[in-house]
Symmetry: C2
Subunit: 276 residues, 2 copies
């Protein structure tokens, strides 16, 4: 069986940057998981003593707190700063941007509509920057239930599928005076999505590696599944069921933006060893 | 044969307003055709002595010049004002709006993209307001050949099909940081388009009445043709070929935004008389 990696996969700019920041700040702690990959977080803890604090009130003056790639809620960031904590911001710049847009557009009087998962830390963060509030929608059906004023600013979670984003824009444009569509889907996401679509078309089994709570990995899996019905989302090699590969000729592999190369290598090595 | 009018058709707010302005300004002249309907223009000339001047330099100080519904080029409007001419502006407010947007967006540093017909007076006017220039595109294929900076302001000719406008937005959104989509398609156009689509689906012959140079009438005809292959675009009852109705059961009728009711009535009466 041929095992082939997608043309673009895995770690994005923001994740690489955050891990470098964490490695450079030994004996600190991240507020919430730095990235959505528990294995990599365990490695940072073991090798660099970078811990994980889930409640920001647990930080004490003098502590070093690393802000996760997904960003945090505006008030909490301000609280950390005020509390004499040494704040190191590892928010991905592609997430800082929609935070800024949400604030600016809200202050300019636009109805701010965020396409994403309201429970995801990135979206909780972005939403918190909209001074006069923002509405989070998960799909075009959500939007159909809403009424806005004349002008809408549309922001997307960085990891969303562009087609779903366009569906929302296409619903709004004919119905409102102005729809200001910000392309806040990050390029890495976009490139990984394009590449997984391509490879899924020529594969008869697809393996998508990444955290089960990783939004962008889930999107990759959904895209793979559309083109290749035998697609599987795993966190690491321990989740592989080798019967998946019986009678298959081409196995495509991709990985989410928070999946480190060492996990990807472990998965490929495991498949190679047992199947080929 | 049943003859049925579309639920929305004919004169729009801007045309009604312009005709009222013309009727209230006897012994004046419009600069260019007030609306795209030569029969109605002839009526204004005959009944109100409102003439038609094609070259704005022919106006003399003290003359009354009526600016057409489609608007005119910014420089020419300024010239008319400077020349001591009494300028009465019958530009449709739905056209003034995209003129203002073109100017504002251009001055704010957006690449201004206008979807429309570069040769149409409305678009010549709107384009002239973009201080640093604007690009006119007729379809998404035109857009694919172009490169822009980061931020694009998208404006549509008032009479365009919204689906074609969305195709352009959908091409641009994934490729640029911000696409500010202004819904400058006028409601009357939109309502007439929706209504002609509905009636075309249940008609076996469609008659679309309006000037051959009327952009919105041409769009209505294109939509009708998609749903009903026996669709015809006529200016008045003299262009009817009665063989069109042989063996037909339902005739749908619509008319462009510049088609007066008296022409529509003449057409329906003529069909009624000969066919039923």
């Amino acid at each position: 069986m041929v095992i082939e990696l997608a043309e673009n996969y895995g770690f994005c700019f923001g994740v690489k940057r955050a891990i470098k920041i964490a490695e450079e700040n030994k004996d600190s702690a991240t507020y919430g998981p730095l990235i959505h990959n528990s294995k990599e977080i365990a490695r940072l803890d073991k090798d660099f003593n970078v811990g994980l604090i889930e409640d920001f009130k647990s930080f004490k003056a003098g502590d070093t707190a690393i802000v996760r790639t997904h960003g945090i809620v505006k008030d909490e960031l301000e609280q950390l700063h005020k509390s004499g904590i040494n704040v190191i911001d590892a928010t991905c710049p592609f997430v800082t941007k929609p935070q800024e847009i949400a604030q600016e557009m809200s202050e300019e009087g636009y109805d701010v509509v965020i396409f994403g998962d309201a429970a995801h830390p990135e979206i909780k963060g972005v939403q918190s920057y909209a001074t006069h509030g923002a509405i989070v929608v998960t799909d075009v059906e959500d939007v159909k239930k809403l009424k806005f004023k004349e002008k809408i600013a549309l922001i997307s979670q960085t990891t969303r599928k562009v087609e779903d984003y366009l569906a929302i824009a296409n619903y709004l444009v004919p119905r409102y005076k102005e729809v200001r569509v910000f392309n806040t889907i990050c390029n890495a996401t976009f490139d990984n999505q394009l590449a997984v679509r391509d490879i899924s078309e020529i594969s008869d089994v697809m393996i998508i590696i990444g955290g089960k709570n990783s939004s962008n990995t889930k999107q990759l899996f959904n895209i793979a599944k559309e083109k290749c019905s035998d697609s599987y989302h795993i966190e690491d090699e321990n989740e592989i069921d080798y019967s998946w590969f019986e009678g298959k000729e081409r196995c495509g592999v991709s990985a989410g933006a928070s999946t480190p190369d060492w996990i990807i290598k472990n998965v490929i090595n495991a498949i190679e060893k047992r199947v080929n």
